[in-house]
Amino acid sequence: MFSMLTETLLGRTFLGYLLMFAVPLILPALFVKLIGFQGLRHLFSYEPKDTAIHRVDPRLKIVYPVVIGILSVILNWFYVFLLLGVSLIPWLILRPSLARIRVTLTMAITPVIGMIWSQGMFYGYHPGVHYLFVFPWTIRWFGSVGLSIEGLYYGAEQAGRMLVPASASLILLLSTKPSDIIWAFYKFRFPPVAGFAFTVALRFLPQMIERVTLLQKAMQVRGYDLSKPRWWQLNQWAGYLRRVFGSIPTITMALLIQSLRTTSVMALVADARAFGSEKQRVTLQEYQSTSADRIGWGALAALVILVVGLVSMHIGNRQL
């Protein structure tokens, strides 16, 4: 049976199409099944808790993803995954909720699989590239020679490089109150407006997701069919996807109009509360440096020194 799949043109064609289309079809389904649109609100919102990560200096939490992102660029893929391991330590301390873990993992794993798969498929033809599977001529029209080992490796490396700053950035969003972000922006002498915009975006994202859901419901109540076919109703999926994509302009326009109305009130409120009226802004909470901060800054500095040291000794640096 297996030899029939790998040795006959028909079997190889079947395998080829399966390899080519299974991942792009499964990934969106995986995303919808595990997260759905509503689940996104768990990804980008503050989760109030009393952990060491919550208490740590907000400035450190802003610097951390920037620094770790730069480090991930200069390291090779093996060391990038070690760095990814390091970036998971704050998550262990943070102990996020199950809903958050599910959403974060799905959001992380979905592009990782996509990236590894796409690089494996489209790494290109180079001398010395090894293929796990070479496509028969019946699928060559798609522009890929086959599934290459080097491509998969490269995809994994890129995925690791993407995951490290993403993991670090989400720590900031999950554990930092917007007021602390504004404070940190102010301390860094960034324009307060930037911090304010960031805060308002965080504040409104869950609301915007709610609104999209509401608009989708309203369209369906008006007779627009967005009901999902069962997985075996293959003939209905094309129509369903067409309707989903067809609904996007309608929902976007309604969302835009509503958001403009909301933000105009918010702008009036910000003005009425004297935002931007004084150059010198004072915060109610003055951040008191703690031992956790000192440990955090120390750990980050040690990590930077370690990586720079390793790279200067040509250990773990990228081969350009």
Partner: protein, 573 residues
């Protein structure tokens, strides 16, 4: 404390030739509690924005005349300077909260002013104390109820230490409990802290007893400017503008022999005047004829032992409810009691975690909303969310264009639908250029395209003034008669329930507490209070006068007067 003086104020929005405010001259003295009333579009909100200094600095338009605060022209002041004198609170608290926790939200304004940290802390403490929100200091703003959120927006303004607070319909999105919370805070700010309050509000019944002065506006002018007891001397003025006067005022006008020139502003005042009269005896005897519930003939909507939970939160507990063909059922209860969740199950928005939900005898297919919409229509609270097209006519076309394949043809043509909702003359108009009530009618017309047999009305009167709300409900009543529709209405508006519902179902913590004709349900004041429901003033008066001994109460002033006058007539026979 300085006065607010409005001198010859006129205002035009860009592109409009008609002024929204017309040569207004007003003086609001320090410590006054002023109620600004009027039909939608009369200029109340514009007046509030102008008095708060947001016109013309932040809201563009052409202005004549001006506003002075303590002798100083507001137009010469920066917005942040004004906000330390005059604070403004808007309608929807969700659009006004910037931060994710209460303390940061209240501290935001003083922080922006660059005040010393001790001063900021003091102001936050004081503002939270004045609004009764100290216990919520560390809470996330997402976890607050509507009333609590609005109290936080008030606290955030109070932290700016204004001398005047202007509020533009601050309770319109709140349930009765939230409304009372906010109004109580305003009363205390005025009475205890001597703050000047200017309140733009449609819920006149609930606030009238606390205000010092009433301004009734029409087409940008003030047509009544009096203390509350004198403001209602000429009820025709109010009626002609479609502004509903408090029920106790209307009652007093119907019983001049008892009330004379004393206008009661609260149920307690009316009760005190009526106690010495024969009314109490007559009301106790045969106030309202018993209204039997119609026998259940054809069940249209059926919830059988329904349970619903979100993670660990149980929202509905063993709900058994049947709605028969032709009924107008009002679903009432405090926010969070499960009203919208209960209704959403019948649209297939979500599946119950226990029990079953059926519609016209068939189980509801969860997720297949467009199919369910063929049988049941759902009018969202914000009908604007249901409008997607550029003209009224195209809006009706939406349903025709996107109708599912395999269904029967449409029962109505676009022309018929336009006629049903009385929008034929406006068919080329942009939906967002229609009035609030017209937009609601348009949304209903769009829903009727599939000829549903039942309609769920989620807060159908919210955002409309009393006059327009009454017109809209009358329209729904006529539609019901014409098309034989069954209504399930989710509402906090008990006067609408009293006037239109054939049955009222009270939900409390996800359980059905009471179900029956409004005349009987509104007689159960204690149980209703526990469920966060406040009966209409006339029903409360009836219960108060009969000391809760009557099994049923009058639902409107007309019934009350009729009950008294029929007895009176008998005496004279």
């Amino acid at each position: 404390m300085p006065d607010i003086t409005i001198e010859g104020l006129s205002f035009w929005y860009p592109g409009s030739s008609n002024p929204v405010l017309r040569s207004l001259d007003l003086k609001i003295a320090e410590g006054e509690f002023v109620l600004v009333a009027g039909a939608s579009g009369c200029g109340k909100s514009t007046l509030a924005l102008a008095a708060a200094g947001l016109i013309p600095t932040r809201v563009q338009g052409f202005i004549e005349g001006g506003v002075r605060f303590g002798g100083k022209a507001i137009s010469d002041m920066q917005v942040h300077e004004i906000s330390q004198q005059i604070g403004m609170v808007f309608q929807n608290p969700d659009n006004q909260i910037i931060h994710l926790d209460v303390e940061s939200e209240v501290a935001f304004g003083p922080e922006n002013l660059g005040l010393p940290r001790s001063e900021i802390a003091g102001r936050v403490d004081q503002a939270l104390r004045m609004t009764g929100m100290e216990a919520f200091r560390k809470r996330s703003t997402f976890s607050l109820s509507g009333g609590q959120k609005q109290r936080i927006t008030i606290a955030a303004m109070l932290a700016m230490k204004p001398k005047v607070l202007i509020l533009d319909e601050p309770t319109s999105d709140l349930d009765p409990v939230g409304t009372q919370e906010v109004l109580k805070v305003l009363k205390e700010l005025n009475r205890i802290h001597d703050m000047t309050i200017i309140l733009v509000e449609h819920k006149i019944d609930e606030v009238i007893e606390w205000v010092d002065r009433v301004l009734l506006m029409d087409q940008g002018s003030v047509v009544v400017d009096s203390p509350p007891r004198q403001a209602f001397r000429n009820l025709q003025t109010w009626d002609s503008l479609g502004v509903i006067v408090p029920q106790m005022v209307r009652l007093a006008a119907g019983l001049p022999d008892i009330f004379g020139s004393n206008v009661p502003l609260s149920v307690e005042e009316a009760a005190s005047a009526l106690r010495g009269s024969n009314c109490v005896k007559w009301l106790s005897r045969n106030a309202v004829p018993p209204v039997p519930l119609q026998p259940c003939e054809t069940t249209v909507l059926d919830w059988d032992n329904v349970q619903l939970a979100y993670d660990n939160l149980q929202v509905l507990h063993d709900v058994n409810l049947q709605i028969s063909s032709g009924e107008w059922v009002a679903l009432v209860g405090a926010n969070g009691s499960g009203k919208t969740s209960l209704a959403s199950l019948v649209m297939g928005f979500q599946a119950p975690t226990g029990g079953s939900v059926s519609c016209m005898g068939k189980p509801v297919c969860v997720g297949d909303i467009s199919m369910q919409a063929q049988k049941v229509a759902y009018l969202f609270q914000a009908a604007d969310n249901m409008l997607f097209e550029s003209t009224v006519q195209r809006e009706f076309g939406f349903g025709f264009r996107h109708r599912r394949k395999g269904l029967d043809g449409m029962k109505y043509t676009i022309e018929q639908l336009l006629e049903i909702v009385d929008l034929t003359d406006l068919k080329e108009r942009n939906p967002f250029h229609l009035s609030h009530g017209q937009r609601k009618r348009l949304a209903i017309g769009a829903l009727l395209a599939s000829a549903p047999q039942a309609m769920i009305l989620d807060e159908p009167t919210t955002g409309q003034d009393d006059g327009h709300a009454a017109l809209f409900l009358e329209f729904l009543q006529q539609l019901r008669g014409k098309l034989g529709l069954t209504y399930l209405m989710i509402t906090h508006d008990m006067i609408s329930v009293a006037n239109y519902a054939s049955r009222v179902v009270v939900l409390r913590d996800g359980k059905v507490q009471m179900s029956g004709h409004p005349a009987y349900v509104f007689a159960q004041g204690t149980q209703l209070a526990a469920s966060g429901v406040v009966p209409p003033p006339v029903a409360r008066l009836h219960s108060m006068l009969t000391e809760g001994a009557c099994p049923s109460v009058c639902l409107n002033v007309g019934q009350f007067l009729q009950a008294i006058k029929s007895e009176e007539a008998l005496l004279h026979v």
